[in-house]
């Protein structure tokens, strides 16, 4: 029993000690967390440790001796009758009354043990810690924490300004104490606005950028230089701000004039415009070419996976059915939806489709070619992607012309163009049959002929090696006028010439037919898009072809307007021009190799040379080295580094020019060359740079330079009298 008295006191002491330490910890913890949230963990740790030490010194937990506990018990428990000290004494050493008192206190203590809390305030300290935590989170979230002008930004985030010219050392240099870059991503990306103090920008094209800079002391003027264009920053309440839209990659920096007119420039920052990638389409479970017998089940089923970086707006299948062959081929396009619904805005879509050829009214010998088209959410102009074209054909029981000759889809394309002569015959037939035909049938046929006329025109456009955009076109909207004339045409005219929706046949023709016509020539072309040379040598041919296509435009226009009579003269003219071209053209000769001098046809055929003149030409085809100054700068820097030269005005000029060359190169990857560009900018200034900067710039410049192209060189060699004698002697004895 006597041990248990002392033990109990010790137990109380230990418990109180533990609570005291816990209290100190909680007190120190609160400010520690606050500092951590606002200033980083090192400062927070220091705050915590120093605060805890101070509290330890204040509370002095080592003072909790058993005697002290007893006196505390005496003061807290009136029932102890100031005799809890007896608990510590040995029972033997006590008198009888004392022994009785000891037992009494002990039994009392047993009852009070649970309610003894000491002078501790665990709840208070805990609450305080929570309060500090909440305060920290609040300040951090709403960025209310601002320690004023003395606040140090992290070095990477501070805008470093350097004076352009040397300034007196005693001068107080203004510096940017606050900076903010706000990036407003385009709405369709559904990304939140970003506020940052990091000045290097990497954002999607079309993002809005806004800068805000505050200086520690007033300055006269602040400007931002984006890709060499200087824009003044607007002052509002001591802060300077400017905003722009990110359209392409590049660089920018800030410059300011202090109140005395000294200029300062910041280091360069990169502007990296990320392009919104067009959707990616993958078709699974489908062969490029598939054929069916007329009696089997004709179902083409496939799954498509469409992905996009910001979201897909819509996806559908463009299917074209061709009936007949040769010059009597007819087309019908349909825009088909997938079986699974397209949920706009998704980044990935898994879609499936079952195409039943029978439901498309396909007969034996008919072909279906289709592709998947997907559009993303980009604004104002969405990205559109087409998949490869796939083919399905129902074998004709009579003439099965299709053989799988190669893997090229284009090899399988039928010759579906009507010739101009055929078109004329058909038009004349249409005019003849008009009285017997109904209005709707007449209009439909006329429109079909118009479409065929267009196909022919596009074919010649492709043949010329040109985009159809180059072909002269009559006033826009003429076809709309035509298509709007009859409701019955809607099925066939189906947005063909709409600017908003690229015509599927045109696309498929461009994708698939163009290689067929262009490929054999392409390998021999020196410069396939060289309108200059083609204009010079084959001026008459080119203009004739353009003229013929012009006629085709008009012919098509009238066919679409259901006026085949009006169309005929244009068709005749077009035919005549085409015939002339066929007779005179030597397109291949020009395209393949040697450029013959322009010779008049009659002269050439006569075999006489009197009128054939000598031909002279002069050209400067040397391409300027885009790295001239970078190469020079390398030599200059090396001279400076090895101590054989110093930076002078001439070398500064070279560095500046090299900087421009590098900037042009760096537009592709702004971040990559930023340091080198920055170094060159510093070197172009008046202030001496350390050797490390020179070495870093040299290194960067060497990386930019491409590998040299093999080029004949002029070697040096001394040829003296002795060499001459030796050669002569050798020649003498050479048999």
């Amino acid at each position: 029993m006597k041990e248990s008295g002392k033990d109990m006191v010790l137990q109380i002491r230990n418990r109180w000690l533990l609570r005291q330490v816990l209290e100190i910890f909680l007190y120190a913890c609160g400010p520690g967390i606050l500092v951590f949230l606002l200033a980083g963990w090192i400062t927070a740790l220091l705050t915590f440790i120093s605060l805890a030490l101070l509290l330890f010194l204040f509370f002095k937990p080592w003072n909790y001796t058993p005697e002290k506990i007893c006196s505390l018990l005496d003061s807290r428990l009136p029932d102890a009758e100031y005799s809890s000290g007896l608990l510590l004494a040995s029972e033997k050493a006590l008198s009888g009354i004392a022994r009785l008192q000891q037992r009494k206190v002990l039994s009392q203590l047993g009852n009070w043990n649970g309610s003894l809390r000491g002078r501790l305030h665990l709840l208070r300290s805990g609450l305080l810690a929570v309060l500090f935590l909440a305060l920290g989170v609040f300040l951090k979230k709403y960025q209310l924490w601002d320690s004023g002008p003395d606040r140090k930004l992290r070095p990477a985030e501070t805008i470093i300004f350097q004076p352009v010219d040397s300034i007196p050392p005693e001068k107080v240099v203004p510096y940017a104490d606050r900076q903010q870059l706000t990036v407003n991503f385009p709405e369709y990306t559904r990304r939140k606005t970003l506020r940052t103090s990091t000045m290097n920008v990497k954002a999607v094209e079309g993002s809005g950028l806004a800068w805000k800079i505050h200086f520690n002391i007033p300055v006269r003027e602040v400007a931002i230089v984006i890709n060499g264009t200087q824009n003044k920053m607007k002052e509002t309440e001591g802060s300077y701000s400017v905003s722009t839209t990110l359209n392409h990659s590049g660089f920018y920096n800030f410059l300011f004039l202090d109140t005395q007119g000294n200029a300062y420039v910041s280091e360069l920052y990169s502007l990296e415009a990320l392009t919104d990638e067009p959707p990616g389409i993958t078709l699974k479970g489908l062969d490029q070419f598939k054929s069916f017998d007329h009696d089997e089940s004709k179902i083409v089923s496939f799954a498509t996976r469409i992905t996009d970086d910001f979201g897909i707006r819509e996806a559908h299948i463009i299917a074209t059915v061709s009936k007949g062959s040769g010059e009597s081929v007819k087309f019908r396009e349909e825009r088909l939806a997938f079986d699974t619904p397209v949920i706009a805005g998704r980044q990935t879509l898994e879609l499936t489709k079952k195409l039943d050829l029978d439901s498309l009214n396909m007969d034996p010998g008919d072909e279906l070619y289709f592709y998947v088209e997907a559009t993303d959410v980009k604004l104002p102009k969405a990205n559109t992607t087409h998949s490869e074209t796939y083919f399905a054909v129902i074998r004709d029981t009579l003439t099965d012309q299709f053989g799988v000759e190669g893997t090229m889809a284009a090899d399988l394309m039928p010759d579906y163009f009507r010739s101009q002569r055929q078109l004329i015959i058909d038009t004349e037939k249409l005019i003849r049959d008009r009285p017997e035909m109904g209005r709707s049938a007449f209009n439909t046929t006329s429109n079909e002929l118009g479409f065929d006329q267009k196909s022919l025109r596009l074919k010649y456009g492709a043949f010329m090696g040109e985009e159809d955009a180059d072909v002269p076109s009559p006033a826009a909207g003429d076809t709309d006028e035509g298509s709007g004339a009859g409701e019955g045409l809607a099925h066939y005219t189906h947005n063909h010439d709409s600017e908003h929706d690229p015509p599927p046949v045109e696309e498929s023709q461009e994708n698939d037919k163009a290689p067929n016509t262009k490929n054999p020539l392409e390998a021999y072309l020196h410069d396939d898009a060289d309108p200059k040379t083609s204009a010079k040598v084959e001026l008459s041919l080119r203009s004739k072809l353009l003229q013929a296509m012009d006629e085709m435009w008009d012919a098509e226009l009238y066919l679409r307007l259901y006026q085949p009579e009006e169309s005929l003269p244009f068709q005749y003219r077009s035919l005549k021009l085409l015939q002339e071209i066929k007779n005179t053209a030597r397109i291949y000769v020009h395209r393949i190799g040697f450029d013959p001098p322009p010779i008049k046809e009659d002269t050439r055929l006569s075999g006489k040379l009197e009128d054939v003149k000598n031909y002279r030409d002069r050209k400067d085809s040397a391409t300027d080295d885009p790295y001239t100054f970078i190469r020079q700068a390398l030599g200059q820097l090396e001279a400076v580094r090895t101590g054989s030269a110093e930076i002078n005005n001439e070398s500064r000029h070279i560095f500046e020019k090299a900087g421009r060359e590098l900037a042009a190169e760096a537009l592709k990857e702004p971040g990559k060359y930023l340091k080198t560009l920055q170094g060159l900018a510093w070197l172009s200034g008046d202030i001496q740079q350390p050797p490390e900067v020179i070495a870093a710039v040299q290194k960067g410049l060497l990386k930019v330079l491409p590998a040299p192209v093999p080029d004949p060189k002029k070697r040096t060699g001394f040829y003296g009298e002795l060499d001459e004698l030796i050669i002569k002697e050798m020649e003498k004895y050479d048999p």
Partner: protein, 582 residues
């Protein structure tokens, strides 16, 4: 003893002795009055001593060294060698070597002098010429001991560095660093005695550049770093005349390639009888294309097809021969089947038929180059430019100052069409660079000293047509030049550069005749320099068979002793009459 006593001036002995005897005789005659007193004999003897001392001072007698050996210790000597020398020669003198300081006189009486270790510097070798010296090479320091690279390549060239590393270590690397410390190439070392290494890089800019070759361990720590100075010359453009008897695709692409690279090209194609198509690419239309030697001298290269070549009249052939032989023109013939069958007299190419019509070059195993079914035969004077194991495909011959080139390739433009652009360019760049006219500089500098160090002799040679050239170093002071007796346009000079880094040497009055060289700090390339010094020492000491003891060695007696003898004799002769009279 007397046989050990020799003089350096043997020839003077007889006249001197006669003179001395006369002087002594005069003295005796002068003192004859005292004869036969003992004074006379004493003074006579002293006078003899005095006269003898004078003679000795003049004839500088020397003592034959009985025996003696010394060893000069230079860096890298082997301790075992020294120990065994010590064993065989008890009184072996050990001397430390200090470059560029005279060897002590005490070495003169030695029987043999041993040079241990790296050897004395080449500029100190003359000091040992008189000694019966033996060279015992020491051990070579680890590091690069052989190095070969072009000192003055042209921009766009591939800088190839070949070397040998002594005692390489596993997991170490030799790294080629470019300006600014950029790593350009590296080579992994393996353990062994010696390892050959190759490094290369493309030269992208012209000027004076300081590359570096460093040895790094597996953690990337630099063990050694040696400077590698390279003066990169700028590219010069060629002026090319292409002459075709018939238009062909090869020329069409070749002219485009040359013109795009910035070369001046004159293309003259015959399109019909007496009708020509003339194109001036990157050059003025005023250039004359008359086939005269003067006009051809304006061009660096004439590319002529076999059809046009065959049409050349004998007069034009003479013009062409003159332009090549005397003018230094480079001519390249675009051959055809007929030409290769009988290539004509100019150049006397030996051509043999083979059956293959295409060839795969080693550097591009993926593509075939079309060729005529012929190949060039190995012949005196034929420089092979492109060849396979089966024979030479492209080559040229020197004709006088110029060159005549020929290839069996045909339709190389197909490489371009097949997308092998780089290969097409490389083939033609090699052919045309080899054949075209050489730039004849006003001054052609060369040096036998591959490594040039501060305050050490730098020997150089200058070939120039300039009469009595005045060579100025760093626009500062002239260097004395000496013309070679037998080749008067070759001048030699030696300088002691004082400035580390890039130095410049030029001919006074001509700003184009510049030579750039880099002066290294003596700590650079220690191992390489050591091997070079060892080779020089081995060569120098083996030149004349200077075996130990083959030469008589002697130790001169210091004339001070004779002078003291003379002085004391004279003092006695001066004092003696005074003592006697008193």
């Amino acid at each position: 003893m007397i046989h050990n006593f020799i003089s350096e001036h043997q020839l003077l002995n007889w006249p001197l002795l006669t003179g001395a005897l006369i002087i002594w005789a005069i003295f005796l005659w002068k003192e004859w009055r005292q004869f036969p007193q003992p004074r006379f004999f004493i003074k006579g003897c002293v006078a003899l001593l005095v006269v003898a001392s004078l003679v000795m001072i003049l004839i500088r007698p020397a003592l034959k060294s009985k025996s003696g050996h010394a060893a000069i210790l230079t860096e890298g000597f082997r301790k075992q060698q020294l120990d065994s020398l010590r064993k065989s020669h008890r009184n072996l003198k050990i001397l430390a070597y200090h470059p560029n300081r005279p060897l002590p006189d005490s070495l003169r009486g030695l029987n043999a002098l041993y040079v241990l270790g790296e050897g004395v510097q080449t500029f100190d070798l003359w000091q040992l010429e008189k000694f019966p010296a033996v060279y015992l090479p020491g051990s070579v320091q680890r590091g690069i001991v052989k190095l070969r690279y072009p000192r003055e390549p042209i921009q766009g060239d591939l800088l190839r560095i070949n070397g040998i590393f002594n005692h390489p270590q596993k997991n170490h690397r030799v790294v080629l660093e470019g300006p600014g410390g950029i790593t350009l190439d590296s080579f992994d070392l393996d353990i062994g005695e010696e390892q050959a290494f190759k490094l290369s890089t493309e030269l992208k800019a012209s000027g004076n550049f300081l590359f570096a070759i460093s040895e790094k361990d597996s953690s990337g720590k630099v063990i050694t770093k040696e400077e590698l100075p390279v003066h990169i010359r700028p590219r010069t453009k060629l002026k090319v005349w292409i002459m075709n008897g018939v238009p062909n695709f090869e020329t069409r692409h070749l002219k485009n390639y040359l013109a795009e690279s910035g070369h001046q090209v004159l293309v003259r194609n015959q399109v019909s009888r007496n009708r020509f198509k003339t194109e001036f690419l990157n050059m003025g239309e005023d250039a004359s294309y008359a086939f005269t030697a003067e006009n051809l001298d304006q061009f660096d290269l004439l590319i002529i097809d076999a059809a046009a070549y065959r049409k050349l009249s004998s007069q034009f052939m003479r013009v062409l021969e003159k332009a090549i032989g005397e003018g230094g023109l480079g001519v390249f013939i675009q051959s055809d089947n007929q030409f290769l069958k009988s290539p004509g007299n100019l150049g006397d190419f030996l051509i043999t038929e083979d059956k293959s019509v295409s060839v795969v070059l080693d550097a591009w195993p993926d593509s075939k180059v079309e060729k005529w079914p012929y190949r060039l035969q190995v012949d005196i004077g034929l420089q092979s430019q492109q060849a396979t194991g089966e024979g030479i495909l492209t080559g040229y011959k020197r004709i006088g100052q110029g060159r005549l080139g020929l290839t069996v390739f045909q339709n190389t433009y197909r490489l371009l069409l097949d997308g092998h652009r780089q290969q097409y360019r490389k083939i033609w760049a090699d052919i045309l660079s080899a054949v075209s006219r050489r730039d004849d500089p006003i001054a052609y500098w060369s040096t036998p000293d591959k490594l040039i160090y501060k305050d050490q002799p730098f020997r150089f040679e200058l070939r120039t047509g300039v009469e009595k050239p005045i060579v100025i170093l760093n626009d500062d002071y002239p260097v004395a030049m000496a013309s070679k007796v037998d080749v008067p346009y070759v001048w030699e000079g030696t300088s002691f550069p004082v400035r580390e880094g890039w130095n410049m040497m030029g001919i006074s009055g001509d700003s184009t005749a510049i030579y750039n060289f880099y002066v290294l700090d003596t700590t650079q390339w220690r191992s390489l320099r050591m091997v070079q010094t060892m080779e020089e020492n081995t060569r120098a000491f083996s030149e004349d068979l200077r075996t130990p003891g083959a030469q008589i060695s002697s130790r001169p007696i210091s004339p001070i002793w004779f002078f003291l003898l003379f002085l004391s004799g004279m003092t006695f002769l001066w004092l003696e009459p005074k003592i006697y009279s008193s």
